[in-house]
Each structure stands twice: as C-alpha cells, then as structure tokens.
Symmetry: C2
Subunit: 265 residues, 2 copies
Amino acid sequence: MATGRTHRPATRSRGIPEATVARLPLYLRALTALSERSVPTVSSEELAAAAGVNSAKLRKDFSYLGSYGTRGVGYDVEYLVYQISRELGLTQDWPVVIVGIGNLGAALANYGGFASRGFRVAALIDADPAMAGKPVAGIAVQHTDELEHIIGSNGVSIGVIATPAGAAQQVCDRLVAAGVTSILNFAPTVLTVPDGVDVRKVDLSIELQILAFHEQRKAGEEGGPESGAAAPADRAEAAAVGDAAAAVGGDRKGPDGDVPAVMPA
Amino acid sequence: MATGRTHRPATRSRGIPEATVARLPLYLRALTALSERSVPTVSSEELAAAAGVNSAKLRKDFSYLGSYGTRGVGYDVEYLVYQISRELGLTQDWPVVIVGIGNLGAALANYGGFASRGFRVAALIDADPAMAGKPVAGIAVQHTDELEHIIGSNGVSIGVIATPAGAAQQVCDRLVAAGVTSILNFAPTVLTVPDGVDVRKVDLSIELQILAFHEQRKAGEEGGPESGAAAPADRAEAAAVGDAAAAVGGDRKGPDGDVPAVMPA
DNA sequence: ATATGTGAAGGGTTTCACAGCC
DNA sequence: GGCTGTGAAACCCTTCACATAT
C-alpha cells in the first residue's frame, strides 16, 4: 500500500500485452538491420531468428498491432519498421535528462543507442558543483539546482537516474514534482512514485546474480545433485546461522567500504 | 532452430521458478539493508514493501526455498540473508572478465555493486592495443589476444560483454570456446550460443523504448484515444510508407554516424 | 493474536496446429 | 506451395484466502 508501484500496465494500453511491448524494440532492431541491408521482405521465421524469439510468438505479437503481413509472402520490412516505430512512439523525439554523471551516467550520455532511437539527451545533471560546466559527451553538465527549470523549459517527461542509491529517491521525487512521468532507474533502490508514473529499473548486479544461480546449478550437476546441503535445513541449524551469516556478510562487505553504493535509503 | 537460445531454464533448476530466482536478489538487497541496521526479524509484509513486491508473492517465493520463517513472528534477517546468498551461489566468489573497456565497460569495472555481491573482476579485456596496460578501476587492461589464457588460468565461468555490437558475437564465441558458460551481454545484438551456456542481456535503449510506449499512451489519453490513427491502416498506406520510414530512419540515423554502435552483425 | 505456508482460483503468456489467404 | 493470423491448449505466474503453527 505504502509501497511504490514499480511496474504498472499504465492504463492497460490498448490491449497490447506488456510482454509484447517489451519485445517490439527487439523486432525493431532486427528490422532496422534488414532495412540497412535493403532487404525488402522477411518471413516470420527469418525475423524471429534475427530477433532471438520463436516465430509463433512473433506472429502473435504482430497480430496485436494489426494485419501487417502478406500470407504466402511475409512482411514488408520498411512498412513494419514504420508501424512498430509509430506504435512505440518513436516517430516523435523524446527529450531525456540524465541525473548523476558518474561513470555510469557518463557512459549513458555517450551511448549511441539512445540518440539512434529518437531519444535526445536534453541535459546532464549532477549534484557535484565541481562537475558543473564540464562537458560530457559534448553537453555541459548542469547543477541539480537547475533540475526543475531544465525539466520545465524542455518539456522533459522521461528521466534517467544514475545516482548513488542514497540519492535516488530524492532525485526521483524532484523529477516527478517537476513533471517527469517516466523514469529509468539504474540506482539499486526501490523507488516509490505516485500513480501515473512509470518506473523501469536496470540493476547490473542483479543480472549477474541470476547468472550465478544457474552457474552454481551447472557445477552441482556434474557430480549429481548435492541435495543434502540444499534440502531445507531443519530449524535447529538456525542457531549456527549467526556465524555462517557473519562469514557471508564478511565476504560481501569485502575488503573496503563498497557498501555505500548499494545502501538503500 | 538455428537461433541461439537466449534464455534457458538451465536444467530447470531444482523446481525454483525462474520468476522467483529473478526476485531473490531483490530480497537479498532489502535484507542486507535491514541487516546493516541490525534489525533482527521482518514480517513478509515489511520485507515485501522494502523489496517492492507484494507479500503473498514473497511468501510463495520463500516457500520454494524451504520453511525459513516462524509463524506468528516473521523471518530472521541474518538467517534469510545466508539462505538466499547460498541459494544464489554467492557464498563462493565468482571471477568475471569484462570484455570491451569503453565508456560502459569502464563504468562496469568501477561499479561497486559487483564486488559487493561476491563478484570479483578478474580481468579487463579490450581489442584496442592502445588500451593495453592502462589501469581502469585499478586493474590493467589486457589485450584480446590474452583472452583464452586469462579465462583458463583464472577459472572464469562468467563473462561480461560490453563491446560494440559488431564484435559481440565473435567475443562471445571465444569466451565460450575458452570455457565461459554464463554471459551478461550489454551489446545490442542477439547472441547465439551452444546449449548449456546461459546468456542474459541488458539493453539500455530497449528500456527507454518501453517507457516511450507508455508515455505516448498517457499523452494520447488526455484528449481521448486517437484511435483513428492507431487503427490498422489499410494496406494502401504501404505505398506512402517508403517516405514515412525514410523520415523515421532519417531521425534515427541522426546528425552523425551513431549507428555503428547499434549495428548488429 | 499474529503471521507463515500453501492449495486453489485466476490471469497472462507461450506454444500448438491449422484455417485462411496469397 | 507457402506463410500469415488466430482459436484453443498448455504452461507459468500471481493472487486469494485460510489452515496451520507459534
């Protein structure tokens, strides 16, 4: 209830399932590549292979957009590029601001994939006064004090947060108050936002942790499942847990104080 | 069929649903924060709020791991931290290599969230000879020629690809041949890998495109749905599409050649 | 009294398989 | 003949609601 909703269907769109929306950018990328090679048409099979999905899924996805293919032939590449671009809202350009110009923020500012998809970096914002005025990716960094002004005068509705976790919620609140209604969050924190604001998150270390999970399973399989240790330990083990957890915690906290970057509000 | 499987259940784990695995890192983060504040126990309600999920989901998730809570009381924070860490395989440390030390690669090398979760950056690898020997995040960059040697001698099983899209598949092939079985891909390409290798991808621009989709819907709602334009256009419109697509493409390709970073193989 | 653990219901997503159209 | 578009089946995930345990 008090929890910030992290991911809403945003008015349930117009019947296009969320899972489909999430794949449209993939199709678009594959189609753009084909378009650059001047390929006129593709079959669902070919396009699916290029996008890394299966063809039945692709056809179902496209069926939500309309009937854009030709039976017995396939899809017109240029036509589909246009339709998907329009559906995604990429026929207009979206000014975005990036807040937090550290290593990651700078990398994002330099990332070609943004500009190449209709996203224009309208401003770079950082809380460090020493950063103000410095050019990053050809754009002068502005101080956080300017945030509201920048959002307002540029009509920015999409914000990217690349600050340390501790600052993220505060920055988020200011962005939202200034009129931003979509946020891409790179800080490892759960953001709380009012209804009507969309948040998507990218957490670099979470992806690695998911890989580690599967990697561990692979290793365990070689000599058969070591299910003895994996089986639900009986509650008596909890007594020993203080030590075990301390050992783990010790590992995690590591040699130096790297926790600050991970500490939520 | 010829398509590289991008996301496999990897031997179907031991019955822990993929969706649950993907949330374990979230719980772990929230629990770590509580642990640092020396909170001894949490209820599913509190923890769920901190992790940004609903409490029934959290309880179901935990039920796959075992019965780690106490009815009427809640969960022991330290105990849960340990159990989830173990389940994710974070009680051991994972050497990882990062290939492609551009802006993003450097940001990843500097990212505290890796080291703080048991991931150790064993090496940074780049194809540019001029980069060789340069220290990034305190680690000397090594040339791609060393790749196989580095993987082998460090027992690396997780690789991070942050190269331009055009180089990604090639790098991926070499990583896999050298023994890497889990790959985190930041390059905007579909990677093809043999069975038994897991790939997870993070595409920065895809997330923005999904936000743009919802943002567009919000804007459209204000004056009622402009479903006229959104309705499946009849095929005659395809004739005009060449121009429309060109206009879009023109926008996308932008002022300068920013496409190289996005061009798949 | 309070909060977990879990069958059962519900909703969404993927896959199948084939009718329909070129 | 070949390929799209789509009902129907299968599957997975989420949510509900309450039995169960402390």
